[in-house]
Symmetry: C2
Subunit: 363 residues, 2 copies
């Protein structure tokens, strides 16, 4: 059966990185009749340039209909002063919200070949394997009111609203507990219950659902600020971390940085299983941004984008062997010392975006 | 003229750490007629035990009247299930709010003797000297509505509100720019303007006041998630960071952890200068918490509390020489290899809370 992929390379290095994934898709179609059908659209600054919105309704429809969306990156100085409603990020946020992609899976793993590239001492990150589960459709990202009011007298007021309902916390906690069972069976939930009412509710709901349905999983609670510190102090203490949209944004970026290079890390954003087919809407994207400073030079590291496609094989198409092989190929290429500039080290060979893709393909 | 200090040791190791500051105050009164007059109150769990509130009105009044408040730490498992309104942290939040301590100064410095204790590679933190300026009386900490609503059907809704007005952003940015002038003259402002309207306003106001009054200071803007990553990647790129209450909470804890030991770092929370006297209300507290696991054993590191008193000498009493001397004494004691357990290293001598205080006093 044809597998429909909708590609949204976006801006900056998103374009180049997606090129390497296209090669892998073509190879899988040729060599193993994988039957991927791809279509492509615009998101972010390039979509704004083309039709004045960060994503068009037509492309949104295609994203909704696809089996999976592959997303590159959005943004760049060129669009720094476009109106808030059509800024590049609005495209990504609309995709997350309209597709109801509430569960963002952000693995922070440290490839052994790269432990030395981390700013942390190698022994603290060697073999690191954390999975951050970030709530992605709620919290301060989408709560209303969200506005700037003119108070007169030269004063303005900026307002954002953090909202979480029981069901939103339950479903993200469920994802965390279920994935923990396939790993080291430990979940750490992070919030600021000492300051935020949404944190109080978060803590209660996670505790209750744990007791009711997942008491076999080890559960800890940590204040989000302490969690950030512990990530820097001793990241290997964690298995699965579950947290809200904004804390997840901060904490997963800190965790990503611990691993040595942001250019390496993929993410998956999943919706709820469909009642009839059991299929989840899904979007896969690298954790890194559009890196406008190096875009178009053919030097960007495509590994995060390729690893995002591996997650896509795993979660959207249940192609576990293929996903394993692709991930192994990434590790092998790193072991061989073939590197883009961002992860260069003594004794390695510096290559371009395309060479990395080719080397992974060869494996 | 008598200098009125109000001491709030609070819970856990707050008690022991404050004991060492008392020694220093007594010494300064004896040896240099410093004329400190101290009074003492309860805050946090111990205040709740004594009179059912995290701080009593009587103690609040004393705090308001004092020249400076020295605060230890609050909280512990004993009070984990007291009602939200009287939880230990409520005492600290009330002090910040009622005293209008909008400017929280959190230096993250790395004592050369401790660079090896950081989880970061020593060359990344050796000589690190960042000042984080955190807005402390606004944002999601205090905005209304802040509540949990029962929606029926077993569903609840947790709500918190992030609010910033122009004047709040202006005054905290002003503090950051002014302090930057006494340092390396560079400010980095952090928010999430790509997601939050309060972040959009924050960015605008900081940019405008910079242009109008502080254009001699170098100003950069960074998204808060990227800021967290950059702190881990290359912390020495920063001089002064200015950010909101919640991001400041997260980022200053990450920054504190970078330096090797949280047990080392002080903070100052300042109000606006009084129109008549020019004096600022002020509270000084260590960045570490109450550490209930080691409380009462005489092994806690009192250095953050002592360094907080040094900040008090500097900012509340303009006793610059005395502050410098106290800070130098801390560095000397560390150089001598006299350490509490949290910062022990090979070849150092492990001592208790009191020994550190005595050693610093000797210097
Ligand atoms: C681009 C931006 C809106 C986004 C976010 O804040 O969620 C990014 O930082 C991320 O983490 O995916
Ligand atoms: C104790 C708590 C309320 C407090 C905060 O969140 O501000 C603490 O984490 C801090 O950073 O001073």
């Amino acid at each position: 059966m044809a597998k429909h992929l909708f590609l949204l390379p976006g801006d900056g290095i998103g374009q180049e990185a997606m090129g390497e994934v296209r090669k892998i898709i073509a190879h899988m179609n040729d060599a193993m009749s994988a039957d991927f059908v791809t279509d492509e659209g615009l998101v972010g600054g390039c979509a704004y340039d083309a039709h004045g919105a960060a994503i068009s309704d037509a492309d949104m429809e295609k994203a909704m209909a696809a089996d999976a969306v592959l997303f590159g990156a959005v943004g760049g100085p060129k669009w720094d002063s476009v109106p808030y409603e059509v800024r590049p990020e609005a495209g990504l946020l609309r995709l997350r919200k309209d597709m109801e992609l509430f569960a963002n899976l952000r693995p922070a793993i440290c490839y052994p070949a790269l432990a030395a590239a981390s700013s942390l001492k190698p022994e603290l990150v060697d073999g690191l394997d954390i999975l951050i589960i970030r709530e992605l459709t709620g919290g301060v990202y989408f709560g209303e009111p969200k506005e700037i009011i003119d108070l007169g007298n030269g004063q303005k007021r900026g307002i954002d609203t953090q909202i979480y309902d029981t069901y939103e916390i339950e479903r993200i906690a469920g994802v965390a507990f279920e994935l923990a069972r396939t790993r080291k069976n430990a979940v750490c939930s992070m919030e600021k219950r000492n300051v935020m009412k949404s944190g109080v509710l978060w803590n209660q709901v996670v505790t209750e659902i744990h007791k009711a349905k997942y008491s076999d999983v080890k559960l800890d609670h940590m204040l989000a600020d302490a969690g950030g510190m512990q990530l820097v102090r001793a990241p290997k203490q964690f298995d699965v971390i579950v947290t809200d949209n904004l804390f997840g944004d901060m904490l997963s970026d800190v965790a990503a940085m611990l691993t040595g290079s942001l250019g390496m890390l993929p993410s998956a954003s999943l919706g709820a299983p469909d009642g009839k087919t059991g299929k989840r809407k899904a979007l896969y994207e690298p954790v890194h941004g559009s890196a406008p400073d190096i875009a178009g030079k053919g030097i960007a590291n495509p590994i995060a984008m390729i690893a995002s496609f591996a997650m896509c094989l795993r979660y959207s198409f249940n192609m576990i062997t293929e996903a394993d092989n692709l991930e192994k190929a990434i590790a092998t290429v790193l072991d061989q010392g073939i590197r883009t500039g961002d992860i260069m080290a003594d004794g390695c060979r510096q290559v371009g975006t395309g060479d990395i893709g080719d080397a992974i393909l060869k494996e």
